[in-house]
Structure formats: structure tokens, C-alpha cells
Amino acid sequence: MEKFKKICINCPAGCHLEIEKEGDAITVRGNSCPRGIAYARQEVTDPRRVVTAVVAADAPERLFIPVKTTAPVPMAEIPELLKKLFSMRVALPVHPGDVLLKDHPSTEITVVATGTGK
């Protein structure tokens, strides 16, 4: 049996989870809501994070558009994704929710704007 101590990052409560993993069976203690259990399972099998960054606008003035991934991204794929975001130039205008990038580096990733940059 493997034991882990993790902090649930799903909400600011930051519950301290005690996780026991035996094959596929996982028991969790310390969570205040069911989302903590899902987080624990994900964290000990395939940890993922939402990535936020800014992307430069294709504009004469210095303008940066805040962006996020619409779902948590496998941690191993984050460096590749960030490289892509740094190299991009986005045409204006941009509105919150506009899709700026899809399927990079893997098919699961969608990056949307969270602001207009202005």
C-alpha cells in the first residue's frame, strides 16, 4: 500500500488529504467535499494543472492577452505548451472566451482568452 499526503488545490479551502492507494483502490481522508476525492485519485495517477499565461497581441502597442487552458493539462505537457504560447502573436480584437489555441501539444488542450488586453 502506498500513502500520500496532498493538499487539495480545487478550492481555497486547501484541505489536507491523506491518501492510501492499493492497486486501483483509493481511500481519502481529510476532504471536505467529493471534489477532494476526485482530486486525490487524479493526483496520484495523472497529475494535471490549469495553465494561465499571457500571449502577445499582434499590435503596434505593447498589449498582452491573459489566457488559460479550459481544463487541467497533464503536467508533463506544460513546458511544450508554454513555449508555444510565448511564440504566438494574437490578432486583435480578442474577447474573453475566444479560442486561441487547440490541440497543442496533445489533443486535449484548448487555450482561451480570459481578457481583452485593454
Partner: protein, 414 residues
């Protein structure tokens, strides 16, 4: 000089001001919000990470998204927003208040309103406030300033950083720098426990193997033109143990050592401040000692969650709306005191015979605790069990308040 009138004037267009303006306007009051920057949203605009709005919108939003929502609410409700306009003075005497505003587009403006809501937010404490010795060289930033440079202007502050202070802004910046290719050598914290939220320790430090050195302090900053290294030492019995001093190479230092509510304007117009919160002393309607002037958000006390900022702004707005309509709140005769294990409580006075909302901060870390509110005779008026009490995480409580001269809030071990 141009004069404008409104029922309610809101000073500051961050989360607090926008939420309050939306609510005042939705209640049918002519509402004018004054913001000194060229865009509304306040500190939310530079907080591109997610973690906003879970309580209020049941969704995890980024700062700009939260700003967009409350801005849209304010605009749709019909609040007028004046940008590039700074409130320089408040005259709070008399039934109608007068604000002197310097506007980029309109010059000097006088704004007259029946009620005023203070929502000016706060600013960062800096190296000077701490008295860290060493050289005065380039490469020393406040964490929030570095955040603004990276996220709003696309500028990197350096290549190898030490972060002083483990507040949330510092932790968020540790991740932001790491994702931008800047190496974070370590985060040092003078207290024996971290100042930020646990989730930020997990996702901003542990994910990147950034060491968090607790009970450590900066003992010097060195470099000619640019920072070259810092020295740090552990605290032993509250003083730096120089025998264990260590040198850490870096070209950048970020200070994340707390925020100070921005109350120069309030002080100048005679508003009484609480020396612990650095914000106005208020009653349960969030009214300051000057009748008709209300306060909410970070200018009242530093919040860690924007959801609480907006909840508080709603209450300030409701009080301002009632005031502008000519209603007068009941007397807030109960003195509220922070006792054992608590640093402060807001509001400072409560009103008997109705439900009052309280926010407070612990002065220490506790695993399990009971929040207790007692009368001068020791009768327990309210109690509530809490888990993982930390100074970083604000505690809230709301309960119907019976008549008493004083309420003392304490955190008891249990």
C-alpha cells in the same frame, strides 16, 4: 469648475467598487464610480491565475474574468464609470458629501453625493518598511509590481530570484516566474508557518521543487549595479543567527510582505482608522465614523478571497442605498473586541436585534479551534468549530445578535 451629482459615489474600481456600484445602480440609485487607472478591475487585472469566484459564481475564474463579470454587472445596472480620474479630497461634513476629483479628460471636477463608498484597495509593503540592510541596487521589486510587469507589460524582472515572504502574491509569483523560465532559488519566511494559502504552497512551490525556508530572514542585499547575491539566516529565539548565515546568488528579489490599505484620503477627511487593520473603524452597516461614508474591500481590511470582497461590497452598497433614501441605521451599540488568538475583527461595532456579519483573522496557526463569542459576564453568544485556522485565511461568521455591551471573539483550542 464642473460639478456632477449622484446619489452614491464609489471611490475605486476594483472588485469592491465594481460590485458595490452594480448593486447601488441595480437598486435604482444614480451611481458614479471613480477610478484613477485607465481601465477598471483593480488588482484583478494582473492576477491572471485562476482561483476567483468559487463561492460567488460557483466557478473558478481568473482575475480578468472576475473583473469582466463585475464590470458587466455594473454597466448593465447603469452605473457610470469615470476612468483616469483620481479622488484627491473628500469633504464629509454635511448631508451631501463633496469629492474633489482630478480627471484626465475633464480637469478638476466636484462630485456631490448623498453617500460615499470607499473602495480604494491597498498597496504593497516594501523593503523600506522592513529595514533590510544592504546595498541599494537594481533588481529589488515588490511581488505585485513584478506581477504587473510580467502580466500586463510582458517584461521579465530578471533571471534568478529569491522571494522574501510567503504571502499568496509571492507564491503565485514563484510559479509565474518558473513558468517564464526564471529560476526561483527559494522563498524565505520569517514566521514558523507559511503566510499564504496551502493550495498555493502545493501548486506554486511543491510542483517546482522550490524550497520554502521557514523562520528565516534576509540579512543583506549585495550588488553593484544589479543584485548579485543576498544573505539569509535562520532565526533563533527571534534573532538572526549570523553563525548560520548563508549566501544565495540571485539577480532579483521579490518582496511579498503584506499589504497596507490605502487610506490617506480617509485619514485626511477625519475617518478614524484601526491601527491593527489600517482600515476605517466601521459599524455593522460598514459605515465609518463619518455618517454617510461606507467602506468595503481591501481598503477596509486586507482580504485573501475576492468572493468575500464582493460580499462585503454588497453589504456596504445596501447600507449606502438605504442611507441615500433617507433611512438611518439603528445604533450599533455593541463594542466588538478581538480576544485570544485573534488579531482583529471587523466590524468594530454591532447592532443588536439583527443578524450581523463578522470577518476576522487569527493571530496564530491552529489545527482545530472553536470560534467563541462571549458577553462580559462570560455567556457564550455564538460558537462555531473550525479546521486549520491560519492567519492567511480570513474567518467569517454571521449570527443574530442579542443586546450586550461588548462581544469578545476568541479562538479556543479544542
Amino acid at each position: 469648475m464642473k460639478t456632477r451629482t449622484a446619489d452614491i459615489a464609489v471611490i475605486g474600481g476594483g472588485a469592491a467598487g465594481l460590485t458595490a456600484a452594480a448593486r447601488c445602480a441595480a437598486a435604482g440609485k444614480k451611481t458614479l464610480l471613480i477610478e484613477r487607472l485607465s481601465r477598471p478591475g483593480g488588482v484583478l487585472q494582473q492576477c491572471i491565475h485562476s482561483g476567483f469566484g468559487i463561492h460567488r459564481f460557483n466557478e473558478e475564474l481568473t482575475g480578468p474574468e472576475y473583473a469582466h463579470r463585475v464590470l458587466t454587472q455594473a454597466e448593465e445596472a447603469g452605473a457610470e464609470i469615470l476612468l483616469n480620474a483620481t479622488v484627491m479630497q473628500i469633504d464629509g461634513t454635511g448631508e451631501v458629501k463633496t469629492l474633489t476629483v482630478y480627471s484626465r479628460d475633464e480637469g478638476v471636477l466636484l462630485i456631490r453625493a448623498r453617500a460615499v463608498i470607499l473602495a480604494m484597495g491597498c498597496r504593497e509593503r516594501c523593503r523600506g518598511n522592513l529595514g533590510i540592510p544592504g546595498e541599494r541596487t537594481a533588481g529589488i521589486f515588490n511581488a505585485g509590481l513584478a506581477q504587473k510587469l510580467i502580466n500586463e507589460q510582458g517584461l521579465l524582472p530578471g533571471t534568478r530570484a529569491v522571494i522574501a515572504g510567503s504571502g499568496d502574491i509571492g507564491l503565485i509569483m514563484a510559479r509565474r516566474l518558473s513558468w517564464c523560465g526564471v529560476k526561483v532559488a527559494c522563498v524565505i519566511e520569517i514566521m514558523p508557518y507559511p503566510a499564504g494559502l496551502s493550495r498555493n504552497i502545493a501548486q506554486c512551490l511543491e510542483d517546482f521543487d522550490i524550497p520554502l525556508l521557514l523562520s528565516h530572514t534576509l540579512t543583506g542585499i549585495y550588488g553593484k549595479k544589479r543584485v548579485e547575491y543576498v544573505t539569509i539566516a535562520p532565526l533563533v529565539n527571534g534573532v538572526p543567527d549570523l553563525a548560520q548565515e548563508k549566501k544565495i546568488t540571485c539577480d532579483t528579489i521579490l518582496f511579498s510582505v503584506g499589504l497596507v490599505p490605502e487610506n490617506e484620503l480617509s485619514r485626511a477627511c477625519g475617518i478614524e482608522l484601526d491601527p491593527v487593520t489600517n482600515g476605517p473603524r466601521v459599524d455593522s452597516s460598514l459605515m465609518t465614523n463619518i455618517p454617510g461614508i461606507f467602506s468595503c474591500g481591501n481598503v477596509l481590511h486586507v482580504h485573501d478571497l475576492v468572493d468575500f470582497v464582493s460580499d462585503e461590497a454588497d453589504r456596504a452598497a445596501d447600507s449606502a442605498v438605504a442611507w441615500a433614501a433617507g433611512e438611518r441605521p439603528g445604533e450599533a451599540a455593541i463594542t466588538v473586541k478581538a480576544g485570544k488568538n485573534l488579531r482583529y475583527t471587523v466590524p468594530h461595532r454591532a447592532e443588536a436585534g439583527k443578524t450581523n456579519h463578522f470577518y476576522m483573522r487569527a493571530s496564530t496557526v491552529m489545527d482545530k479551534a472553536e470560534l467563541r463569542v462571549t458577553s462580559p459576564e462570560g455567556r457564550i453568544i455564538f460558537s462555531k468549530k473550525l479546521r486549520y485556522v491560519k492567519p492567511a485565511e480570513m474567518i467569517s461568521a454571521a449570527f443574530p445578535c442579542p443586546e450586550e455591551s461588548t462581544y469578545t471573539f476568541t479562538l479556543e483550542n479544542c
